[in-house]
Amino acid sequence: MNNLLTIFISMVIINNMVLAKFLGLCSFFGVSKKLSNAFSMGIAATLVMLLASVSTSIIYNYILVPYKVEFMKIVIYILVIASLVQITEIIIRRTNINLYNALGIYLPLITVNCIVMAIALINSAENYSVLESIVNALGAGIGYTLVIIMMSGIREKLDLADSPKSMRGLPVAFLVAALLALAFVGFNGIV
């Protein structure tokens, strides 16, 4: 139990996917222009990461390791993740059209996002069990959602600011991310 809590907290704030590990930057800068979009993106990403790490850690622990074919993990994971996202999208579209309208457009974006692939690779690199993988993915997803919401709140205000012409848009967003990351460095050593 203690171990699970450690994994969770370290994934949310200390080893934050975006600010400490630089994963999922494309969506982090692409979707963080509006608060509502950022929230939907965060939820969709968390959902996909949970599903992906459950299925990939089952495959890793019960198929790849017993048959000693761990080196195939990259090829297998990317196929599993890509088809998983497709299936999730079809299920959501058929069952709940409102949820689909809210999350649907973000789901395909996530397939090629490195966070999902990364969480699967981290789970197998750390030899996490299925339960630990789920907690790890949940932590990573919540960390991602937290940071993208903070970022979009700041960027909504930033649009009104009078920044130098050449810094407008992406460069100044990087500087904001630098300050956020600096704040998150302060959490080092909690666990």
């Binding site: 600010l19 630089f22 080196f71 990317i78 196929l79 690779l121 981290i122 407008r168 990351a181």
Partner: protein, 251 residues
């Protein structure tokens, strides 16, 4: 209600094939690339000296990092030292070259419907080869690159080039494109890692050999620059400067 149904129906038709949807993901990035490529293809037909033109274009005009803003994750994550940047650059060039060659040579045999899954499997295979090679011959570098070497597989640059260039052009031109884009990527990561290593450690080291030290700085290095916030700061400033001198366009 009817309206809802209609809309969802048309959506279903639009995105009935999973492959089709997959294409959507990369549309944004690829759109930019396509414009570049189409222009370039026209020019090539006029001049005939396609190979060198493609190569130079990849390095400067459509530099993947600074101009197209693709594949940022490794750019920030592995630029803590020049050695890492060189390793990552070599890895990206290898995967890009092999996947471009293979994809462009099978482009006529690949059905359009399943092209994206085919590309993904081809790329994943070469990334696996790259990982195993690095693990066997340069274990120290493999360890310091960590999961980012495996994450080359989800790098937008590689799938983007496969879709926008290699699936439409001859093998020779695809080689030029891969080498150009690969070198462009390597130069970009080298610039950023040079600044970060210089400020963060006060000297330069390539594959364990000390090149030079800055006297005062190496005793008290600015560790901030090799920590994560430093990466965001440096790339933000470099991008701002490139826009100021007009290499990149303002938003």
């Amino acid at each position: 209600m009817n309206d809802h149904k209609n809309r969802s129906n048309s959506k279903q038709q639009q995105s009935f094939h999973p492959q089709e949807q997959h294409v959507k993901l990369q549309k944004q990035h690829i759109k930019q690339q396509k414009q570049h490529v189409e222009q370039q293809v026209k020019d090539n037909k006029k001049s005939g000296s396609g190979f060198w033109k493609e190569l130079v274009r990849g390095i400067i005009i459509s530099n993947p990092v600074f101009i197209l803003i693709l594949g940022l994750c490794p750019v920030l994550a592995i630029t803590t030292s020049i050695t890492n940047a060189l390793g990552m650059g070599a890895g990206v060039i290898f995967v890009l070259l092999c996947s471009n060659i293979l994809i462009s040579s099978i482009r006529k045999a690949t059905p359009t419907m399943v092209r994206i899954p085919v590309f993904i499997v081809v790329i994943a295979t070469f990334v696996t080869i790259l990982n195993l090679t690095f693990e066997a011959y340069v274990p120290a570098l493999y360890k310091s690159l960590g999961i980012y070497l495996a994450l080359v597989v989800v790098n937008c640059i590689i799938l983007g080039r496969a879709e926008a260039f290699a699936s439409k052009n001859s093998v020779l031109l695809s080689i030029a494109d891969a080498v150009g884009i690969g070198i462009g990527f390597t130069i970009a990561v080298l610039i950023i890692s040079f600044i970060r290593e210089l400020m963060g450690t006060g000297g330069l080291q390539i594959f364990g050999r000390q090149i030079f030290n800055i006297p005062g700085l190496s005793a008290h290095p600015l560790i901030f620059f090799i920590s994560p916030p430093g990466a965001f700061l440096i790339i933000g400033i470099v991008m701002g400067l490139l826009r100021l001198v007009g290499v990149m366009k303002n938003e």
